[in-house]
């Protein structure tokens, strides 16, 4: 429901281990709402969502790696500080932070406050956070936004690695990813 009106109805899907689902649809069709529902950030007006048997909304959140419209970069903190914070918050390995920063191409900007980063760099930081937290269910909302060609291939590499490990990804996007995925069309 959005503003008292139903956004979509009769949506059904099942995603197995190591599989990805691409959610497609025109602007306003409810792609973001669907991802927020799966994350447990929204409550469905009707129906049920469960991930590996966890139906409770807030409990399910602990399995979710979230990449939303906002990258969650604090303007006052540096990428290194942000990743240290997320490592403590979600139990990721602090030792991997330098190599993660290198992987996403933020080594040179690692100690610069995030307010000086470009939109693409902030998105790269969010990718590093996703990998750092290592959650089994990735929910990516327009993940390619603001990324350059190199950033896109970085995202695809991370996605392939994530799926190869038997994890799941739901991706809302307008662009072709070049991955073997299931598709869900919202109208």
């Amino acid at each position: 429901m959005r503003g008292g009106r139903p956004v979509f109805r009769d949506v059904n899907f099942r995603v197995g281990r190591g599989e990805a689902l691409v959610v497609e649809g025109p602007n306003g069709s409810g792609k973001t709402s669907l991802l927020r529902l799966v994350a447990g950030l929204l409550a469905p007006a009707a129906g049920a969502i469960s991930f590996s048997g966890i139906a409770d909304r807030e409990e399910r959140g602990n399995s979710v790696g979230w990449l939303g419209h906002h990258d969650g970069a604090k303007p006052q903190l540096s990428p290194r500080e942000m990743l240290l914070f997320f490592a403590q918050l979600c139990g990721g390995a602090r030792e991997s932070i330098p190599s993660l920063l290198q992987l996403v191409g933020l080594s040179r900007a690692a100690d610069l406050p995030c307010q000086y980063l470009s939109a693409g760099q902030k998105r790269r930081l969010a990718l590093a956070r996703l990998k750092l937290c290592g959650r089994p269910l990735w929910l990516l909302d327009e993940p390619l936004a603001a990324l350059d060609a190199q950033g896109k291939s970085l995202l695809l590499d991370l996605l392939r690695e994530h799926l190869a490990a038997g994890s799941i990804a739901l991706i809302a996007t307008h662009e072709l990813l070049g991955l073997q995925t299931q598709r869900l069309q919202l109208t």
């Binding site: 994350a39 447990g40 950030l41 929204l42 409550a43 807030e58 959140g61 602990n62 979710v64 979230w66 939303g68 419209h69 906002h70 990258d71 969650g72 970069a73 604090k74 303007p75 006052q76 903190l77 500080e81 914070f85 997320f86 403590q88 918050l89 979600c90 139990g91 406050p113 956070r129």
Partner: protein, 221 residues
């Protein structure tokens, strides 16, 4: 616990960087208290009697300054979503935010209050009561403030609604906080400090749950 400590440390770090509201609230507190004698005159006896009340009212107002940003900054930049998906839980987020707000605002205000009391000619015998009342009462201000900040989170210009919502709720804290100081000035026993302690205890215990409920409401909107 580790996650809550991480959030607390992050908020303290942000508050001490440029753009933090910690220094602002302190300066505002000092400015209001200093301004008062210009308004009501410099009669030392009068100032001594109103000192507790003035410091308490100024402390509450100073607390309001950065309060609307307590959750709003995290809400706008997407961090509140990430926190909601962390093992912290909404109650954990609320508790960490309340403690952070008190450490950033309430504690520094308490520490500089005796200096400002000197300006207002507060008798020396009343200093312990002033410090104790602020130490007990300001956490309640942060706790109630976080509940109000969470309630007004997604409202446009919620910062204007926040004081209207919060100030009436804080009246008992000001009454008993200032009352405890005045009792020492008048050298009487009025038990205000015990009432303040009771109000503060109940408020601090309940506020994380109220705040969490308000955050859930706003986030799933």
């Amino acid at each position: 616990m580790r996650a809550a400590a991480a959030l607390l440390a992050r908020d303290l770090r942000i508050a001490t960087r440029a753009g933090g509201s910690a220094v602002l609230a302190l300066a505002f507190f000092a400015a209001v208290v200093t301004l008062l004698p210009f308004g009501i005159g410099s009669d030392p006896k009068l100032l001594a009697r109103v000192a507790g009340g003035v410091i308490w009212v100024a402390a509450v107002l100073a607390n309001l300054l950065g309060l609307d940003r307590l959750f709003q900054a995290d809400y706008e930049d997407g961090n509140l979503d990430l926190l909601a998906l962390s093992p912290l839980g909404f109650e954990g987020i609320a508790a960490a935010k309340i403690v952070a707000h008190w450490l950033i605002t309430g504690l520094p205000l308490t520490v500089i209050a005796p200096l400002l009391a000197l300006l207002l000619n507060l008798p020396p015998s009343a200093y312990p009561a002033l410090l104790l009342s602020l130490l007990i009462g300001t956490p309640a201000v942060s706790a109630l403030g976080s509940a109000a900040a969470a309630l007004t989170l997604s409202i446009r210009r919620g910062g204007l609604l926040l004081p209207l919502l919060l100030l009436p709720l804080l009246a008992p804290v000001v009454i008993f906080g200032a009352g405890a100081v005045l009792a020492q000035v008048d050298r009487v026993e009025n038990g205000a400090i015990w009432f303040l302690a009771a109000i503060s205890a109940v408020t601090i215990l309940l506020s994380p749950f109220v705040t969490a409920a308000a955050l859930r409401l706003n986030l799933s909107d």
